[in-house]
């Protein structure tokens, strides 16, 4: 397994823009910490850790997809939003990004605000809004759940990638002139492929978990309280 850097590294976006997004990310994370504390119970704590570990592992996996210089990767935002909810989910993604930046050199430390805004804030927000919408509209069936997970993952990946394009337009260290549209196009197309892969992984994971332990899927608990949920005694004999 080869590990490559995939988050925005130091020097790609200029200092002032990075600082502005660091402030945005910090404010968003502070709010998530506040809301996440209410969510985090004995069931969610180990799940949050596992989701973070899963995202960490998945981001290390590289699926050889042709991209012209700009690389992409799975984000795991939709999976996190689905299993642990938007608040704890955003924190999980942020933790992954912080650890990657600190000890793996993946994504510059000075660019953390940009990376957290794209993947933990934009990615999770888009994913959870879509999940909330689609779960209400689609039939309450494994297929409905799979479609929800797939669409949320696909769209959130592409939108998060567009977050980078927006940041590059605001504070890219090199003026690309008319080629910025090219960058946007490359990012969109490559992340569309990645989004399909991410959508499939998210859908299969969520459907498997929902079949065996529906009590573990946050989105089903929060958005469909009417659904018959069997809650096994935590830690009991299974």
């Amino acid at each position: 397994m080869e590990t490559l850097a995939m988050h925005i590294s130091n020097g790609i976006i200029n200092g002032p823009v990075a600082a502005v997004f660091a402030a945005i990310a910090l404010a968003a994370m502070a709010y998530c910490v506040m809301r996440g504390r209410q969510d985090l119970d004995d069931r969610l704590a180990p799940m949050a850790g596992l989701v973070a570990a899963f995202i960490f592992a998945v981001q290390m996996l590289n699926f050889p997809i042709f991209t012209a210089g700009v690389s992409g990767h799975l984000l795991g935002g939709a999976l996190a939003a689905m299993l642990v909810g938007p608040w704890v989910g955003a924190l999980c993604v942020a933790v992954v990004l912080v650890v990657q930046a600190l000890v793996f050199g993946d994504g510059g430390v000075a660019m953390l605000g940009l990376n957290i805004t794209n993947m933990a804030v934009i990615g999770i927000a888009v994913a959870y809004l879509l999940i909330a919408l689609l779960l209400r509209v689609l039939p309450r069936s494994p297929t409905g759940l799979a479609v929800t997970a797939f669409v949320a993952a696909l769209v959130s990946v592409v939108v998060a990638a567009m977050g980078f394009v927006l940041q590059y337009q605001l504070g890219g260290t090199t003026d690309l002139g008319g080629n910025l549209a090219g960058l946007a196009g490359t990012m969109a197309v490559s992340h569309l492929f990645i989004g399909v892969g991410e959508g499939l992984i998210t859908a299969t994971t969520v459907v498997t978990v929902a079949k065996v332990r529906p009590d573990l899927v946050y989105a089903l608990r929060a958005l469909k309280p009417a659904a018959p949920v069997t809650v096994p005694t935590v830690g009991g004999v299974r």
Binding site: G11, L40, G49, L50, A57, G105, T174
Partner: protein, 259 residues
């Protein structure tokens, strides 16, 4: 989970003893972040400043007994951004210059240099932190830097479950290959996706049992003091750790004044 109670050393940790290894993690993290910010804030035209930063990195690496080969080999993580940087002189707008028969953008050339120099220095700084700090100390350091407990808790569990997940995934992959599967290109996604749900559930149920065992032994969101490898940083240690970012800050300020 065979690694419970062990040092939680990770892939990049170099288990030797050095003055840098002995520094408390919170001081190292703060120094590394401050150093990176100084590097990023440096104007890209001040080429000499980046040479000074590289010397600083080399000095810390020597002190930490991290050899140059390891550092350079691990820097290949940056490769995708180097590729992006190489494309910039061709894509950049504005004034152009002819180099060896190529019509290149001046802004693009500086941009490429900017990404490669700042990116590489940032990667080196985090590699040095990784080489001298194990994951357990990293979390202790974040906790002492007043990182919200919910975050350190997620990070603790993440690092605990990571080895389990990677190990299980590797076993499943070996099992697939030994049964005649040939994972390559995009098609391996299908095989991966088919097993991923099972992998996730198995890892969760294992992790949940560990968590409940921890709760029953008095875990309340923070690991006991005995778990912490080093005592909190003293003023002297903070001052020692501060030398690197202070030097880097001086270089950055000088560079900003000169350009």
């Amino acid at each position: 989970m065979t690694e419970v109670g062990a040092g939680h050393a990770h892939l990049l940790y170099r288990a030797t003893d050095s003055p840098v290894h002995r520094l408390p993690p919170e001081a190292k993290i703060a120094a590394m972040v401050a150093f990176t910010i100084a590097v990023v804030a440096t104007p890209r035209e001040a080429l000499w400043a980046f040479g000074a930063y590289a010397l600083l990195v080399a000095a810390v690496a020597a002190l930490a007994r991290v050899n140059a080969r390891w550092l350079l080999l691990r820097s290949t993580i940056e490769l995708p951004f180097v590729l992006f940087a190489v494309a910039l002189p061709f894509l950049g707008a504005g004034e152009r210059v002819d180099v060896a028969g190529l019509h290149l953008s001046v802004d693009g050339l500086y941009g490429a240099w900017n990404i490669i120099a700042k990116g590489t220095l940032g990667v080196w700084a985090s590699l040095l932190l990784a080489a001298t700090t194990n994951t357990r100390d990293l979390i202790v350091g974040l906790d002492r830097l007043r990182c919200p407990q919910i975050l350190t808790q997620i990070a603790t569990f993440m690092l605990r479950y990571l080895d389990v997940l990677v190990g299980e995934a590797r076993r499943m992959r070996v099992a697939r290959i030994s049964r005649g599967d040939d994972p390559r290109f995009v098609w391996q996604l299908r095989g991966f996706a088919a097993g991923v749900g099972a992998l996730f559930l198995r890892a969760f149920e294992r992790g949940e049992r560990v968590y409940l065992a921890m709760l029953s032994r008095g875990y309340a969101g923070r690991m006991p003091t005995v778990w912490q490898g080093t005592a909190a940083a003293t003023t002297g240690q903070w001052l020692i750790a501060a030398t690197v970012p202070v030097l880097a800050g001086t270089v950055a300020a000088t560079a900003a004044v000169l350009t």
